[in-house]
Symmetry: C2
C-alpha cells in the first residue's frame, strides 16, 4: 500500500473543533479525566502503532496470505508480534470500563485509533475487532465468574476471540441457524454444528481463542426466538486460569477470498465442544444486538479508513506523476509534462475522495460520541442518543462503506494502469474494502433496518428527531448570507426527506414490497443528506475560524472549498435517488422469476 | 466463475430483430453471402468454443496465474491448447478480409463471438485480442512483403502478437515515449527501449510472437509527431518463413495484478532488436489510431461480457438461495425460507445488471454494424458511420466499462459473503473487469476525446448528427401513446444534451478547464441518453412483436419491463450528472496542490 501518514490535523479538527470533545468528555459520567491533551496523546500514540507496526506487515500479509494444513492455520509473518504489542500497549482494553478491567476511556477514543490502524492494515484490524466480540458479549451477558475467567486475558491480548454466527445456509436470515447446544449436568452445554466465515477462527497467534457462538438449545422455539449465546474456548480453562484441555473445536478449511488475505476466514466445526451460556437461554440475540451496533459502526469505519489510505495514495501519485499539459497552459514548464493534479478530472476524483472521506470522519466520530452518551450520559441523554443511533447507525454502515467503494475505485483510477498492479497497493485497498458493504449486514439489510424497522417502525419519529436537529441548524443560519449556498439546499432536502418518507409509508400500506423497493435508494438519500448536514456544520465552523483570524487559514479555506464541492458535485445525486424511490415497486416486481433470462 | 450459457436468444434478438442484420449484411459490399442462417451457425459454434474450451480454464487460470523465472514466462495450463484450437477453428481470421487471407466476414460477427468467449475467460481474450493487434497494424500499414511474411501465421494462430506502447513514464501521454529505432543499411531498424504493461509479451504458447512497437526514429520531432510503428518478431523469420534467430527481445518481469491473472503482463526489453517499419516514419500513430478504435470497442465489449457473466451468476444464485420471507407473504411456503429473488432490493440489483448488460449488447452490436459500414459501405455510408463512431466509440468504451463495474459489484452483492470468496467466481469477475475502465484509454481520456476532440472539435456537428437521429425517432413515435413513457423523457434529454453542450462550449471560451471539469459527467450523461435511445427502440420493437402475436410474448414482455426499469430507475441519474456539469470548474480548481491535505 501507499505510504500512510495519520491525518492528525483533520482528526483533531473533527474532535476538538467540530465536536468539541473536551466539553463532551467533561459532560460524561466518569470520563472527566479525559482532557483534550490526553486525547491528543492517545491519538499520537495510536498513530505510531498504526504507522510503525500495522503498516509494515500489510502488503506482505496480502502477498503471503494465510494457509491451512492438517487443521492448522498459519497466518502471515509479523501478525503474532503485532497482536502481542497491541495487547501490551493496552489498546484492546482502551474503551472497556474500569469495572471490567479496562482503561475506562469512552469508545470514541478507540474509534480514532481504529481508523488509523485500519487505514494501515484492515486484516490486522479483523483480529483486534473480533477479539473484542467475546469481550462485548461477556460484558453484556456474562456473570461475574465468566467475566473473571475470560475478560482479563482477552483484554491483555493474550487470548484472541471470534464471533460465530453464520452457517452455510444462514447468513442474513439468522433465524435459520441450526447449531445445537445440549445442557450438561454441571450447567455447561455441549455444542455441535458448523459455522462458516469465522474471522480468526483458528491460528496460533495466541495461546487461546475464545469463541462467542450462537446456537439453539435443544427444544428451543424455531426462528430467532430460540437462539442462545455461548462462550466456547478453544482450550478449556484450568482452575489456575491457564488454558488446558483441547475443546474439540476444529477448523475444517479456510476461505480463499478477494482480499483481507492476512485475515484467516475459517470453517469451524463444533464437535461436542464445551460451552457456557451467556445470559438466559433463547435470549442470545438481545446480547448480540448490542455487539452488532458497535460492529456496524466499526464497519463504517472500515470505509473511512480504507478511503483515507486510498486518498493519500492517489494524492501523492497525482502530484508526482507527469502526464500531459494543463489545457490552460503548462504548469510545470521545466518538466516533460505537468503533474496530473493540474487536470480538472483528476481533481474531480481527488475531491470526491476527500469529500467522502472527511465527511465520513465527521459523521462517524459524531456517532461515536453518541455511543459514549448511551454509556456515560444522563438518562435523557441516553434516550436521545439511543434514538439517534438507531436511525444513524444503519446509514453510517451502509453509506460509508458504499461510498468507500467509489473512493477506492477512484484511487485505482487516478493511478491508471499502475493502480491495477500490486506494487502500489491501490488494488489491495479496493479488494480489502470490497467486503465492507457485505459483512455485518449487507447494504440491503441495513436499508431494511433503516426504513422498515427504524423509520416506519417508529411511525417516523426517529427520522423526525434528526430532521428537527437539521431544521434548527438551518433556522439558526437562515440570515447568514455566507452560508446560504449550504443552508438552502440542506433545508430543502431535509424537508423532502420527510415528505418522501410519508409517501413511501402510504404506498407501503397498500403493498409491503414498497418498503424494499425504496430501501437502498432511501439509504443513499439519507446518507447524502446526513453528510450535507456534517459538511454544512464544517463550512460554518471554517467561516468562523477564518473570520476570527486565528491562523491556519489555508486549512479552513480548504474545508470550505471541500464543502462547496460536496454540495455542488455530490449532493445532487439525491435527485437520482428520489426519482428511483418515487418510481415504486412495479418496475422491480413485474418480471416472473423465469423471465429474467431466456 | 459461475456456469455460463451463451445468451443466444438475446443476441439473436439484437442482431436479427433490432438491427436487422440480414439486410445489413446484404447492403454491404462483398458480404452478401452472410445470411442470417450462416450468422446463427457462426454464433452457435462460437458459443460452443466459449462454453467448452474457454470457460473450463478460467477459474484454474486465475488460481494458477502466470510465473516468471530466468526470463521465461509460464502461462496456466490449457491456454496453449485453447489458443491452438482458436487458430485452427479459424476464429482469429474470422473478420479479416479475404484479400489479406481471412474469412472475409464483417467485424460485427467477431463481436458476438468475442462477447461469449470474453464472458467465459477474459484472460484468454487478451491473448486473442493482442494477437490481432499486429494483424490490424499490418493490414493498415504493412507492405505486401510484410503482410506475406507475418499475416498467414498470425491468422492461423501459429504465432501470437502484442501491442507495445506504454513506457514507465508514458501512459496516457504517448508523446513522451522514448524507445529508439536506428535505421540499418538494409532498410530495417534496430530497436532499443523498455516497454511495460505488455499483455502476452512473452510466453511459449506459440512458436513466435510478433510485436507491434511504437518508437522514435533517431532525430524525429518531439512529441506525437515523431512516433513510428514497427513490427519486431521474437524470432527473426527465415527465408522459408519459419522462425529463426532470437531477436534480443526479452521479458524482464511480469506484473502481479488485481485480476486477469492468466494473462501475462510483461516488461519487455528491446536490446538491439531488429524491426521493420510499417508505413512511413513519424506516422505511426495514424496506423495505431485505426487499431485503437477497434480496441476501444473491444474493451467496451469486456464490460458487456463480464457483466453478462456476473448477471448469470447472480440470477442463478438468487433463484436458489433461500433467505427470509417475502414481506408480502411466503412464496416458497414448503421451504425454510423464500428464494432471495422475491425481495425487491435483490430484484433491483438483478434488473440493474440486466438493463445495463442488454443495453450494452444493443449499443455495442449497433456500433459494430457501423464499423462494418466504414469498411464495406458506400462512400456516403462510410462518412456517416465514421462520424457516428467518432462520437459513440468513446461513449461505448467509457460508459460500458464504467457501468460494468457496477454490474460486477452487484454480482458480488447478490451473493453476500459468498460473493467475496473465490469459490463462486463472482469476485474474479470484478477483479478481471476492474482494468476495463483503465486500459485502452481511461474513462478520463475517453471523456476528453468525446467532449473536447469530437464534440467541441466538430463545432457540435458530430453530436448533432446523433441527436437528429434520436429526434427523428421521437418524432415518428410522438403520437404513439404506448411509447409516451419512453419518448417523452428521451426527447427531453436529447434536447438538454445539445443545450448543455452549448453552455459548456461557451464557458470553455473563457476557461479551457471547463472542458475537463465537465468531461466525465458529460460522458455518463451521453451514455445514459444513448442507452435510452437503444432501450426505447427495443421497447417499440417489443410492443410491435407483442401486438403481432407471433409468439415469444414472455420474452418481449420482459424486454418491455426492462426498458421501463431502465427509464424509471437508471435514466434519472442524468439529473445528477447535469447538475455536476453545470457546477463548473471552480469547485475543482479552487484548492492549491498543497491544500488537498494537511
Amino acid at each position: 500500500m501507499p505510504d500512510y501518514s495519520a491525518p492528525l490535523r483533520d482528526m483533531k479538527f473533527v474532535l476538538n473543533e467540530l465536536l468539541d470533545s473536551g466539553s463532551h468528555y467533561q459532560s460524561l459520567n466518569n470520563c472527566e479525566e479525559l482532557s483534550p491533551d490526553l486525547l491528543d496523546a492517545i491519538i499520537d500514540s495510536g498513530a505510531k502503532f498504526a504507522e510503525n507496526i500495522a503498516f509494515p506487515i500489510n502488503r506482505s500479509g496480502d502477498e503471503q496470505g494465510c494457509s491451512f494444513k492438517d487443521g492448522k492455520v498459519t497466518i502471515p509473518d509479523g501478525y503474532k508480534e503485532a497482536f502481542k504489542r497491541w495487547g501490551e500497549g493496552g489498546w484492546q482494553a482502551l474503551s472497556i470500563p474500569t469495572k471490567d478491567g479496562g482503561q475506562g476511556l469512552p469508545g470514541s477514543t478507540g474509534i480514532c485509533v481504529g481508523e488509523m490502524v485500519g487505514s494501515c492494515n484492515w486484516s490486522f484490524s479483523m483480529y483486534t475487532g473480533l477479539a473484542s466480540a467475546p469481550i462485548t458479549c461477556l460484558m453484556n451477558g456474562g456473570d461475574e465468574e465468566q467475566k473473571k475467567t475470560f475478560l482479563p486475558k482477552l483484554l491483555s491480548g493474550e487470548w484472541a476471540g471470534t464471533m460465530c454466527l453464520t452457517e452455510s445456509h444462514c447468513g442474513s436470515d439468522v433465524g435459520l441457524l441450526r447449531s445445537k447446544a445440549t445442557p450438561n449436568a454441571d450447567g455447561s452445554y455441549t455444542l455441535s454444528g458448523t459455522k462458516i466465515f469465522i474471522s480468526g477462527g483458528e491460528h496460533e497467534m495466541t495461546e487461546n481463542i475464545i469463541h462467542a457462538v450462537l446456537a439453539r438449545v435443544e427444544g428451543a422455539p424455531a426462528g430467532t426466538k430460540g437462539i442462545s449465546l455461548f462462550i466456547a474456548p478453544k482450550y478449556l480453562i484450568n482452575d489456575d486460569g491457564s488454558p488446558g484441555e483441547f475443546n474439540n473445536i476444529t477448523c475444517g478449511a479456510i476461505e480463499k477470498k478477494m482480499g483481507l488475505k492476512a485475515s484467516a476466514t475459517c470453517v469451524m466445526n463444533y464437535d461436542g465442544a464445551k460451552a457456557y451460556l451467556l445470559g438466559e437461554e433463547n435470549r442470545g440475540l438481545d446480547i448480540m444486538f448490542k455487539l452488532m451496533n458497535t460492529a456496524r459502526l466499526g464497519t463504517a469505519l472500515q470505509g473511512l479508513a480504507m478511503g483515507e489510505a486510498s486518498f493519500q495514495g492517489a494524492l501523492t501519485y497525482a502530484k508526482e506523476r507527469l502526464q500531459m499539459r494543463s489545457l490552460t497552459g503548462p504548469k510545470n514548464p521545466d518538466g516533460a509534462a505537468d503533474p496530473i493534479i493540474v487536470h480538472p478530472d483528476v481533481r474531480r476524483m481527488l475531491m470526491t475522495q476527500k469529500a467522502f472521506t472527511e465527511g465520513s470522519r465527521a459523521f462517524i466520530y459524531w456517532l461515536a460520541q453518541l455511543v459514549d452518551k448511551t454509556k456515560y450520559g444522563t438518562e435523557e441523554e441516553v434516550k436521545q442518543a439511543d434514538d439517534l443511533l438507531g436511525l444513524l447507525t444503519p446509514i453510517a454502515k451502509a453509506f460509508c462503506t458504499e461510498i468507500a467503494q467509489e473512493v477506492t475505485y477512484l484511487g485505482i483510477q487516478v493511478f491508471g494502469g499502475h493502480g491495477y498492479i500490486a506494487q502500489h497497493g491501490m488494488e489491495q485497498l479496493a479488494r480489502d474494502n470490497r467486503i465492507s458493504t457485505v459483512y455485518e449486514g449487507t447494504t440491503g439489510i441495513q436499508s431494511l433496518d433503516l426504513i422498515g424497522r427504524k423509520v416506519m417502525g417508529s411511525g417516523g419519529q426517529l427520522l423526525r428527531n434528526f430532521t428537527k436537529i437539521i431544521y434548527k441548524f438551518c433556522e439558526a443560519e437562515k440570515d447568514n448570507d455566507a452560508m446560504a449556498e449550504f443552508i438552502q439546499p440542506l433545508s430543502e432536502l431535509n424537508k423532502e426527506w420527510g415528505e418522501i418518507t410519508i409517501k413511501i409509508g402510504e404506498a407501503a400500506m397498500e403493498n409491503a414490497d414498497e418498503i424494499g423497493a425504496a430501501s437502498v435508494d432511501f439509504t443513499f438519500y439519507s446518507g447524502y443528506v446526513s453528510f450535507a448536514y456534517m459538511w454544512a456544520q464544517m463550512a460554518l465552523l471554517a467561516q468562523q475560524k477564518i473570520a476570527a483570524g486565528e491562523g491556519d487559514a489555508d486549512f479552513y479555506q480548504a474545508k470550505l472549498a471541500t464543502a462547496r464541492f460536496y454540495f455542488q458535485r455530490l449532493l445532487p445525486r439525491t435527485k437520482a435517488h428520489i426519482a428511483a424511490m418515487q418510481s415504486g415497486s412495479d418496475n422491480l416486481m413485474a418480471l416472473s422469476e423465469d423471465a429474467f433470462s431466456f
